[in-house]
């Protein structure tokens, strides 16, 4: 760049300053309004959307599907698509190091690559075209991030469509841009604009095609407790299922009774000060995870027992133990799962059954889970879905399958083999929960609280 051009640039800038504004207060005013707007947006997001949480990190749970922050999703998707390219896709570092490295290098050195002093957009078709397609591609890769690259039937068509949209068309457009810039001369901006619009439309088209033909898989929404009260309640449920058999409801058992294989084993009462004061949360967690095989305690951690507890679940159990038995902790006020039944009260679906089912049954009995198609997510499904639709619940009948299996009586096939095991598969429901189910079925499955209020449970 020679001195004349520099001089011109400075003179032009001086002229712009002459007809310009003052930094204070003109610009500062706009800046302040912008900052205030962003601040308000942040407060609204923090208040009404909150922070999406996930359970505590668990190195043993390798089935977890990782997902980066949204601004890295395009890279994530690019790597996934690149990995599907035959032969080249196996050379991982080209996509993970070389291409991003070149991109960052070009971005950094941009002023030294694009040395033309021209700033007006019509004179900069090539760089604007390249950047436009790049940003457009990043947008579509981000939007496509959660869409599968392999169809349910195993074909890789969605991946190919997405790769065309996110990799092939941009590459072709870049080649076309470069050729045009050097052959069309002054007509180049026009050609580049048309090519960019065409390529952009094709990218959107192929992405949408993939999205429509191969939609998002149904999302598994796993709820997990966040507030202390929720964690304690979750811990209590887990304790009832996994621990109660040996340690007893109050954790005070000293000699195990009635448990096959462990009959007569002497154990420390886990609700005692001896245990709670001398073991910190970390040690308690390790004992639950590893077990104490020499003393009879089996391991419950997922790493040692495929059916076992995750790190987060162990923490919930510890939270329950601390807040229930450790006198240094104060128990927060916990709402009961459902309002306790009065002697003549008949429970209803909306008040009593819904929360119980959600806590004890829905983890397996919902669409997408292998449960012989018996789903308990709606009132109708509880009554009619599944292989034994007409036998699930029969108004007024103790032989309803639901009532039998929750009371420890498996349903047998004619040949004596087990058709439906006892429910829940591990542990038993608390007596008051079973009582709710019994009264509800025997009195004809009232749906709303009003319906239930018209009925009376006959006391003997």
């Amino acid at each position: 760049m020679n001195e004349d051009v520099k001089q011109q640039i400075h003179e032009k800038y001086e002229r712009e300053l002459q007809r310009g504004e003052r930094f204070w207060p003109d610009s500062i005013f706009k800046d302040a309004i912008m900052a205030l707007a962003l601040f308000i947006v942040l407060i609204l997001l923090a208040t009404f959307v909150g922070v999406h949480d996930s359970p505590k990190a668990d190195p043993s749970d390798t089935s977890y599907i990782p997902r980066p922050e949204w601004y890295f999703l395009f890279l994530f998707k690019f790597l996934a698509l690149y990995g599907q390219i035959p032969v080249l896709g196996k050379i991982e570092w080209i996509a993970t190091a070389l291409i991003p490295g070149i991109a960052i290098g070009i971005l950094t050195l941009l002023p030294f690559i694009d040395k033309s002093p021209r700033r007006y957009y019509a004179k900069r078709a090539l760089p604007l075209g390249i950047m436009g397609i790049l940003v457009w591609g990043m947008v579509w890769l981000t939007l496509l991030a959660d869409y599968p690259t392999v169809a349910p039937d195993g074909s890789s068509t969605p991946g190919i469509l997405q790769a065309i949209a996110g990799i092939v068309i941009p590459l072709l457009a870049y080649i076309a841009f470069t050729v045009m810039a050097y052959t069309l001369k002054e007509r180049a901006p026009h050609g580049i604009l048309l090519t960019a619009l065409g390529a952009g439309a094709l990218m959107a088209g192929f992405s949408l095609l993939s999205m429509i033909l191969y939609p998002l898989p149904a999302k598994e929404t796993a709820e997990h407790p966040t507030s202390l009260v929720d964690r304690i309640t979750a811990g209590q449920d887990l304790y009832s299922i996994h621990c109660l058999e040996c340690h007893g409801e109050d954790g005070a058992v000293k000699v195990i009774e009635g448990v096959a294989g462990l009959e007569g084993t002497v154990i420390s009462p886990i609700s005692s000060r001896d245990v709670l004061y001398t073991l910190n949360d970390a040690s308690l967690g390790e004992i639950i995870a590893y077990g104490r095989p020499d003393l009879g305690m089996p391991p419950f951690g997922k790493a040692y027992n495929p059916e076992g507890l995750t790190r987060a679940e162990i923490d919930y159990i510890i939270a329950f133990m601390r807040h229930t038995w450790d006198d240094r902790y104060e128990m927060p006020k916990i709402q009961p799962l459902f309002p306790p039944l009065a002697p003549n009260e008949v429970p209803s679906y909306e008040v009593h059954i819904t929360p119980i089912v959600k806590r004890y049954c829905l983890s397996c009995h919902r669409p997408g889970k292998d449960s012989n198609d018996y789903f308990m997510d709606t009132y109708e499904n509880i009554l009619n879905s599944g292989d034994n639709g007409d036998m699930n619940v029969i108004a007024g009948d103790e032989n309803s399958f639901l009532l039998q299996v929750i009371q420890g009586k498996p349903i047998l096939n004619p040949d004596g083999s087990e058709a439906i095991g006892v429910m829940p598969p591990s542990g038993t429901l608390k007596p008051d929960v079973i009582e709710v189910f019994r009264r509800w079925v025997l009195m004809g499955m009232p749906r709303t609280a009003e319906e239930a209020a018209t009925l009376t449970w006959p006391t003997p």
Binding site: V5, D26, V51, L228
Partner: protein, 222 residues
């Protein structure tokens, strides 16, 4: 009384050079701007907001695998307005990345990176990369499943660089696997190393902007 304030102001001005500061920093002519010109100061505002909320969070946050998750539960549930501070920090990070990227695109479209502002652009790219680095290191700190496995994959990607990948992977993780050391390193990078670099580069960026003035929107003459 009026005299007293006048004298006090003059006393301060003689020693601090307030008038000079006002003339050089605030009372400057500028080309006509529009709302696209506010994105730089918006990035600065969001950075300072992240610094402020981040400092509050470190009061309760504990960077160890045993306590990180619980300390954040504590911030969210027990600390007064802890949920608000963390919510702003969480969303502020996303918003900052977005604003910084749009700021970069605006600079690109108006070709403001050209003479005499090449170094401003160079420093700006550094700030963009540091912002992404802040996002990457900050993502691990809550030590939940998403953070743990995303960082496992993220560091694996860094480890696939030919020749020095293994070294980068071990340097990031502090060993072959994600561990307490990884969390400690990410924490150190997130609250000391990267912010210190950012403060330095932001200072340089601002100096260069004041030195050369904000660029004007190009017209057919440019």
């Amino acid at each position: 009384m009026q005299n007293f304030w006048k004298n006090a102001l003059q006393w301060l001005d003689e020693r601090l050079g307030l008038n000079e500061l006002y003339q050089n920093l605030l009372d400057r002519p500028e080309p006509l701007g529009n709302w696209w010109n506010t994105l730089g100061s918006a990035s600065l505002f969001l950075f300072l907001l992240q610094v402020a909320t981040g400092i509050f969070l470190t009061v309760y946050y504990n960077p160890s695998p045993d306590h990180a998750y619980d300390s954040i539960q504590y911030i969210m549930n027990e600390v007064a307005f802890g949920w608000l501070i963390r919510g702003i920090h969480h969303w502020g990070a996303s918003l900052m990345v977005l604003v910084v990227i749009i700021h970069m695109l605006r600079t690109f479209v108006t070709a403001s990176y050209k003479y005499p502002r090449e170094l401003t652009w160079l420093v700006g790219v550094g700030l963009l990369l540091l912002t992404l680095g802040m996002g990457f290191t900050g993502y691990l700190l809550p030590w939940h499943q998403m953070a743990y496995w995303a960082t496992t994959v993220g560091t694996q990607i860094a480890g696939s660089v030919p020749f020095i990948g293994e070294f980068i992977l071990r340097a990031l993780r502090g060993g072959p696997d994600l561990s307490a050391l990884t969390l400690q390193r990410f924490f150190a990078a997130h609250i000391w190393i990267l912010p210190a670099l950012m403060f330095a580069l932001i200072g340089l960026h601002l100096y260069l902007i004041i030195k050369h003035g904000e660029s004007h929107f190009p017209d057919k003459e440019d």
